[in-house]
């Protein structure tokens, strides 16, 4: 039960500081400072965003199950602590999940794009090799289909060459996984006259819980991405699947528009009036951008002096809560400025 293991691990780290919905946001990869900070502070970076398709309902059902099963105990303010029984279970289970590899903070943005491009590319190229053009694509998101269409144009006269190369790269990577993990990966692929298995079918064949299947796949993909980045010369074609990632892969669409205006030198107020959005929404976008953009121009929005004041306040308050920090800075410093500093600094913590 990988999913239960992960929920309990998160609760162990959070202790009683955070509610169970913080666990949910963490696994979904919510783009808020709170969630990103939680991941850093509580050393849960590896679990950040590893389950983007998780539904609130499934999550609640499993939390309730853990409580009923006496592995987790609910406290008054919706926080949860792991019981002695739960702790023992985690320790036992640690061996079974030792093969799993997650690196959410690093890969959660790219993993779904990589996977979907790979799926659709294999379907497209194998069908094309067999001169079969009436297939229903497994992925219909425009950002994925556009990319695949471009690649298809490049390779359409060399389908065999492409498929042979991709095959040997995947073979090389999968050989470094255990048999079950590799088999699950291969069974999920769709090709010519062959449709990949759904999560339900995988769960049935391998005796797994359905909720674990996407997690196992994510773990495989994160490990693949790590292997690809370590040995780029072994997997030149797969490395290519990570190129021209659209900005949407990193920040939300709307934040991306704000980013384009920022690049042209518009102020937050200007952007708000041009886009007819609330100023606070634009602030949220900027904080979101600051979270992912290592080159975020913090100096444009917060002078070095004020930055220093805010950092000192964080130390004095011994807290990352906005309210606590605000009490230690001069009244002229806004919440927005504090949030921006927190967002840009998160990497160094």
């Amino acid at each position: 039960m990988l999913f239960n293991y992960i929920i309990l691990s998160c609760c162990t780290k959070f202790q009683e500081d955070r509610s169970t919905s913080a666990v949910f946001h963490l696994l979904k990869g919510k783009r808020s400072i709170q969630t990103v900070q939680d991941a850093h502070i509580y050393e849960l970076n590896h679990f950040y965003g590893i389950y983007p398709t998780l539904s609130k309902h499934d999550f609640e059902v499993h939390v309730q199950q853990l409580i009923k099963n006496n592995d987790l105990a609910l406290k008054g303010d919706n926080t949860a602590i792991v019981t002695r029984k739960g702790e023992n279970w985690i320790n036992q289970e640690a061996i079974n999940v030792s093969g799993c590899y997650f690196h959410g903070m690093e890969y959660s943005r790219y993993a779904p794009v990589f996977w979907q491009r790979l799926l659709l590319m294999i379907q497209t190229m194998t069908n094309s090799k067999r001169h079969h053009f009436n297939f229903i694509p497994v992925i219909d998101k425009t950002e994925i289909t556009d990319w695949v269409r471009k690649q298809y144009r490049l390779w359409k006269y060399d389908t065999s060459l492409f498929l042979n190369k991709l095959y040997s790269e995947l073979f090389h990577l999968l050989n470094q996984f255990d048999t079950t993990e590799a088999s699950i990966f291969v069974d999920s692929l769709t090709g010519y006259n062959h449709y990949g298995m759904s999560s339900f079918q995988i769960a049935e064949r391998y005796g797994l819980e359905q909720v674990d299947v996407p997690l196992i796949r994510t773990s495989t993909i994160h490990r693949m991405l790590m292997l690809i980045s370590q040995n780029e010369q072994h997997t030149p074609l797969l490395k290519h699947f990570l190129q021209d990632l659209t900005h949407e892969a990193k920040v939300t669409n709307s934040a991306n528009k704000t980013k384009q205006f920022m690049a042209k030198g518009y102020s937050a107020e200007n952007i708000a009036s041009i886009r007819q959005l609330k100023l606070n929404t634009i602030y949220d976008h900027m904080v979101e951008i600051a979270l992912y953009d290592k080159a975020f121009p913090l100096g444009h929005y917060v002078t070095p002096d004020i930055q220093a004041q805010i950092r000192a306040a964080i130390a004095a308050a011994d807290s990352y809560k906005l309210k606590d920090i605000k009490q230690h800075v001069s009244a002229s410093i806004s919440y927005f400025q504090i949030r921006l500093v927190l967002a840009t600094d998160k990497i160094t913590w």
């Binding site: 040997s168 088999s183 692929l189 759904s198």
Partner: protein, 514 residues
């Protein structure tokens, strides 16, 4: 007449070798601008009758379709076949998406939408600005089946046609008795419509009814038959849960069979996966509800089982029509156990509010209205009255029809209300009696002593073709003598190495996969 060169060009586009019975006749009349009613058996390629003209016409072709899932499937399949100028508009689209699609209608040749959407003024106003070459009503029997109760917008299609300046109409159905045909024609207000009605009997299907004593016996009979044959099969259930349970049961008992379940409660990607795996021969047996099948084009389904029987013979005919499209010997098997009629009976009773409740329902509605006689939002009213979705829609339609409600406001007049309630109660009686009669028909067919084939088609057509294989269980068929083409039992499990190589059509890696 269609020009030969166009035909050959389109044959290529739609990947067909020739027209099936009825297609050419209907297409010819549609191309001539005539109003057409086409009743063609399932699996005869009804959709080609409008897709084909749509790709030639200069204006838009509008297709009214009853189910969102069906629309989505058809759009996906059309796009896959290279017909890209197609879109499905439905009420689940985000308002901004729909607005932008509506503004750009001229990008499309074929537009699928629901009858409900055609009641919105903004939609009509937009569509009106374009030249409409053809207005299609797919699954036109829905007009008659659902229109009277909870999808009244089906009955308003005549008015819609007027607003759209009366474009040529094509109404299509696989199962329409004379009664239903007349209903369709009068709703569309096209008495002069040209009819193309084709016989629906299937000469390569053998009809089998097995009466057993219990649910358990159904299972073991199914087990026994599926033990013997590995053939593409559909098993229809009236409940999602039963379909799932039976799929699990077969998987456990007969591990060599590749089984899946399918119902409307699954998400779209999972539904497409199951459909495609079945079409590709990766799955042999689908345990499903009536949600499976429309738009499925698999030639070699050998067996269609009805674990529960449907509410009417029309649905039964649609479902068994999916067997044996390749013309080879196929079997329709219906399993009956005493008490099987309880579920369909209660479905019929739950579809409409109970007639004894109508009066108290209206009393509650009156209490809910505010001082200025305004009602809370419909969803809240329906929830407070503890009605299901269909019952709620029925109630609203009746209030509107009898002038009890105007928009959100109640128009209250005591004497008149009493009379309306009377009429509604009577209407519920009529509809329930009608549906019970339909149920009774299929029940009687199951228990018939004579030839099942003859009894089945009697209400639809005068005669039927001589069966190519065995006729039916009442004419001497037994499973012992049935020898359909079977699928090879391949139980060797490939390693992921071999699977990956096969899937990626990789060549020249023989040494590596050892």
């Amino acid at each position: 007449m269609i020009k030969e060169e166009i035909i050959s060009q389109l044959r290529q586009q739609f990947n067909i070798t020739g027209f099936r019975e009825g297609q050419k006749e209907i297409i010819d009349d549609v191309m001539d601008g005539k109003d057409v009613l086409g009743v063609l058996p399932t699996g005869s390629g009804k959709s080609l009758c409008y897709q084909f003209p749509a790709s030639i016409f200069s204006g838009l072709t509008i297709v009214v379709s009853p189910l969102i899932s069906l629309m989505e499937d058809q759009v996906k399949q059309l796009k896959a076949s290279g017909f890209k100028d197609v879109v499905a508009l439905n009420s689940f689209m985000r308002p901004d998406e729909r607005a932008s699609a509506l503004k750009q209608l001229n990008q499309y040749r074929l537009i699928y939408l629901s009858p409900e959407l055609l009641q919105q003024d903004e939609v009509i106003e937009q569509i009106k600005t374009f030249d409409i070459s053809l207005f299609v009503i797919d699954e036109a029997h829905c007009i008659s089946q659902w229109g009277h109760e909870f999808r009244p917008d089906y009955l308003r299609l005549g008015t819609v046609l007027n607003k759209l300046h009366d474009p040529p109409v094509l109404a299509l159905s696989a199962t329409a008795t004379k009664e239903v045909q007349n209903d369709i024609i009068s709703s569309l207000e096209r008495p002069e419509i040209t009819k193309h009605i084709y016989p629906m009997d299937r000469e390569n299907i053998t009809f089998v009814v097995e009466k057993v004593n219990s649910e358990n016996e159904k299972r073991s009979l199914l087990n026994q038959i599926l033990q013997q044959y590995k053939i593409p099969a559909l098993i229809y259930f009236s409940s999602k849960r039963k379909a799932e349970e039976t799929a699990a049961y077969i998987t456990e008992k007969l591990p060599f069979q590749r089984v899946a379940f399918y119902h409307g409660g699954m998400d779209q990607m999972d539904r497409i996966t199951i459909q495609q795996q079945f079409m590709n021969g990766q799955l042999d047996i689908i345990c499903c509800t009536s949600a499976f099948g429309m738009g499925i084009n698999k030639q070699n389904i050998r067996l269609v089982v009805h674990y529960h029987f449907p509410l009417q013979i029309e649905s039964f005919l649609q479902e068994i029509g999916r067997a044996g499209r390749d013309g080879k010997s196929s079997v329709s098997l219906l399993l009956y156990a005493p008490g099987d009629e309880i579920v369909p009976n209660s479905i019929i009773h739950n579809e409409l509010p109970a007639k004894e409740d109508v009066k108290s329902l209206f009393n509650k509605v009156l209490q809910m209205a505010s001082k200025n006689k305004e009602l809370p939002p419909a969803s809240q009213v329906i929830e407070d009255l503890e009605l299901n979705d269909v019952q709620g829609r029925f109630l609203y339609y009746q209030m509107e029809k009898h002038g009890i409600m105007d928009g959100k406001t109640l128009v209250y007049n005591k004497g008149y209300l009493e009379q309306s309630i009377q009429e509604i109660v009577q209407f519920i009686d009529e509809r329930t009696a009608f549906k019970k009669r339909k149920l009774y028909d299929i029940f009687n067919w199951i228990h018939a002593d004579g030839c099942l084939r003859e009894r089945l088609y009697i209400g639809f057509q005068d005669s039927y073709k001589t069966p190519l294989f065995e006729c039916c269980s009442n004419c001497g068929f037994t499973f012992e003598n049935w020898e359909p083409d079977q699928i090879r039992r391949d139980e060797t499990m490939l390693s992921w190495h071999d699977k990956l190589k096969e899937l990626m059509l990789a060549e020249g890696f023989n040494n590596e996969t050892k």
